[in-house]
């Protein structure tokens, strides 16, 4: 809460100084993990580069803080509001208030569930399902369409876990020779990925007949790589390793040939978000409800 107030206060003082610049209020979820702080930092740096007056509010994972921040943005009459929602529900009221004040709202990253879709202009985010599809497509070509896969799922019920699995399975369904033979949740952590892979190694007699490991994020895959090495297997050679995120430690694993491919989840996405907002402010026209930020697949040198 203190942080929100501080951010709002800072925002007021900034607004007083830069009168002509476009003013955007950005309500961020919090600063958990590696990805989100990098995303916040990029939004602030990119705003500076583009001459945007950014009011940044960190909700510390609480929707009530986020609602307060958005209402503060409305009271300050910002030109546009960008929200990275903590949760999908409970947005109708505050979005109506923004609409009444004629302030367009854009969503970044996660989705919201509102009855009236006109309450926000568009959502700009990566497509988790596309990430799963890219991983699946890479695996299909690397294995020539025949592959028994073990899967390390993210936290049960989380959007990236559900969507990445869906996208991956959508590609696999096109290849009769490809199937997931074991799947378990490693909770998106290195520790979890390692434990699950240890159990898979025992359950499949040292990964006999297993051609690939697909992990919903790199941390779990890094744990799986450790488990395989401790069991005397060669990850990246005995088994194809494909995952999502492209974190620095995964870059190193790719360079060493212990992993084969990773789909990048970009954190530098300010350059995709701001142009949509500023273009809309210049020329308000109907936009598609979802603008997808492209995903890149990175492969190891030898592949």
């Amino acid at each position: 809460m203190y942080k929100t107030f501080a951010a709002v206060f800072l925002g007021v003082s900034l607004a007083a100084s830069g009168a002509s610049a476009v003013t955007i209020g950005f309500s961020q979820v919090g600063d958990e993990g590696d990805w989100r702080p990098a995303f916040s930092k990029d939004m602030q740096e990119e705003a500076k580069k583009m001459g945007i007056d950014l009011k940044f509010a960190d909700a510390q994972g609480k929707q009530e803080d986020q609602l307060k921040a958005v209402r503060a943005f409305i009271a300050q009459r910002v030109d546009a509001i960008v929200i990275a929602p903590v949760v999908v529900t409970g947005w109708d009221q505050v979005l109506k208030e923004a609409k009444r004040a004629n302030i367009p709202v854009f969503l970044a990253d996660r989705d919201v569930d509102v009855t009236d879709k006109s309450l926000y202009v568009t959502r700009i985010s990566a497509d988790f399902s596309l990430e799963g599809k890219l991983a699946g497509a890479w695996l299909a070509q690397a294995s020539k369409g025949t592959c028994d896969v073990v899967e390390l799922q993210g936290t049960v019920g989380s959007a990236p876990a559900i969507e990445r699995k869906k996208g991956f399975e959508a590609v696999l369904s096109q290849f009769p020779g490809m199937k997931i033979v074991k799947t378990q949740s490693g909770d998106f952590t290195t520790e979890g990925g390692k434990k699950v892979m240890e159990a898979f190694i025992k359950a499949t007699d040292n990964l006999k007949g297993i051609c690939a490991s697909f992990a919903h994020n790199d941390n779990m895959q890094l744990g799986a790589i450790q488990a395989m090495k401790e069991a005397g297997l060669k990850p990246g050679k005995d088994v194809l390793m494909v995952s999502v995120d492209y974190v620095p430690a995964m870059k190193a694993a790719l360079a060493k040939g212990e992993a084969n491919a990773s789909v990048e989840l970009r954190s530098a996405i300010g350059k995709y978000i701001y142009p949509v907002v500023t273009d809309y402010l210049k020329n308000p026209k109907e936009l598609p409800k979802w603008i997808v930020i492209p995903s890149d697949l990175h492969v190891a040198a030898g592949n």
Binding site: G33, T190, K202, Q226, E230
Partner: protein
């Protein structure tokens, strides 16, 4: 005086059913038998990369951190206390290890520092509970809530997020092996024996149980209950410190947000399955280890079973309920009564 009759069969049975190890062992056996059917080769043990390898070894291997934490928890619960901060202590220890390795300290010094951090956390908890007389659940909640944040702050000292490291000494203690045996099992055995000697071969165990049973009475009898409580939290902090060393060296990264998440709940559960009472006054170290084994066997079984992960927690809850019902005299008597009525 008549000579004592030779114990009848039913008498022996009663003796057996009333022994506290019987029911947890039975539960463990049931889970293992189910595993034998669900996962072929569950009981196979081979030698891979110069050490023992197999699901049963995995269970022992993976149970070590929970069992270590549970041992400390058993002592704290013996004083009628509770230590919710153990997971956070592990996070702080992990961050400290990664940080000091980055700074280039000699690795045995880092091991001592890590255990020292565990003790320091125990000192803090003990101060709140024994000196300030704050209720244990709240006192340890403070470190539970703040510890992971402290871990993140330590990581930020040198700008690392999930920093990874290599340390032959620490990794040797965690994932290495001496001969065929994983080193962490030896570490655990050493901690267990040391704690057992401390609790059962000195008066400390008796004092802890006296303080847990009735602190005021113990005080009147000349036991310094504050000091006893203090030492219980120190022991718990040190045990969590060891668990932190093993877990951190296992993945050789520091991940304060998620390392050992909810381990305090598994540890408390292990103590309770082992016959400990949250009302204090008892310490069963060996039984607590058995409790930790039941929990880890269950966890490993779920991972091996091929069950969709959506059911993990549900299955765990049902089996834990089953184990606790087995241990409950009232539940067993009710079932027996029901069976007898049917027969009639």
């Amino acid at each position: 005086m008549t000579a004592p009759l030779p114990p009848s069969f039913s008498g022996r049975l009663r003796e057996l059913t009333s022994h506290r190890a019987t029911w947890p062992l039975l539960a463990l056996a049931v889970i293992l038998v189910v595993d034998g059917f669900v996962a072929p080769g569950f009981f196979t043990i081979r030698i891979v990369e110069g050490r023992l390898f197999g699901s049963l070894i995995d269970i022992l291997y993976r149970a070590v951190p929970t069992a270590l934490v549970a041992l400390g928890m058993a002592v704290v619960i013996g004083t009628k206390g509770i230590d919710l901060s153990v997971g956070s202590i592990i996070a702080v220890v992990g961050a400290t290890i990664a940080w000091r390795i980055q700074e280039g300290d000699p690795h045995f010094v880092i091991l001592l520092t890590a255990l020292g951090v565990g003790l320091l956390c125990g000192l803090w908890n003990g101060f709140l509970v024994a000196v300030l007389d704050i209720q244990p659940i709240i006192a340890t909640l403070i470190l539970m809530v703040s510890g992971r944040g402290i871990g993140l702050m330590i990581n930020l000292i040198y700008g690392g997020t999930n920093p990874s490291f290599t340390s032959p000494l620490l990794q040797g203690l965690s994932v290495g092996s001496i001969g065929l045996v994983p080193t962490r099992l030896i570490v655990f055995a050493a901690v267990f024996v040391a704690l057992w000697l401390l609790i059962r071969r000195t008066a400390l165990g008796l004092f802890v149980e006296a303080v847990g049973g009735n602190a005021a009475a113990a005080d009147l009898a000349g036991v310094r209950s504050r000091l006893i409580k203090y030492s219980a939290y120190l022991i718990s902090g040190l045990c969590a410190g060891w668990a932190g060393v093993i877990l951190t060296a296992d993945t050789h990264t520091s991940d304060p947000v998620s390392v050992a998440l909810y381990i305090e709940l598994d540890a408390i559960l292990a103590v309770v399955i082992g016959g400990g009472s949250l009302a204090g006054g008892r310490i069963y170290l060996g039984m607590t280890v058995l409790g930790a084994l039941v929990i880890q066997t269950l966890t490993t079984s779920i991972l091996m079973s091929g069950l969709p992960p959506e059911y993990n927690l549900l299955v765990k809850a049902v089996v834990v309920l089953f184990v606790l019902l087995l241990q409950s005299n009232n539940a067993r008597n009710a079932v027996l009564a029901l069976v007898r009525r049917r027969k009639r």
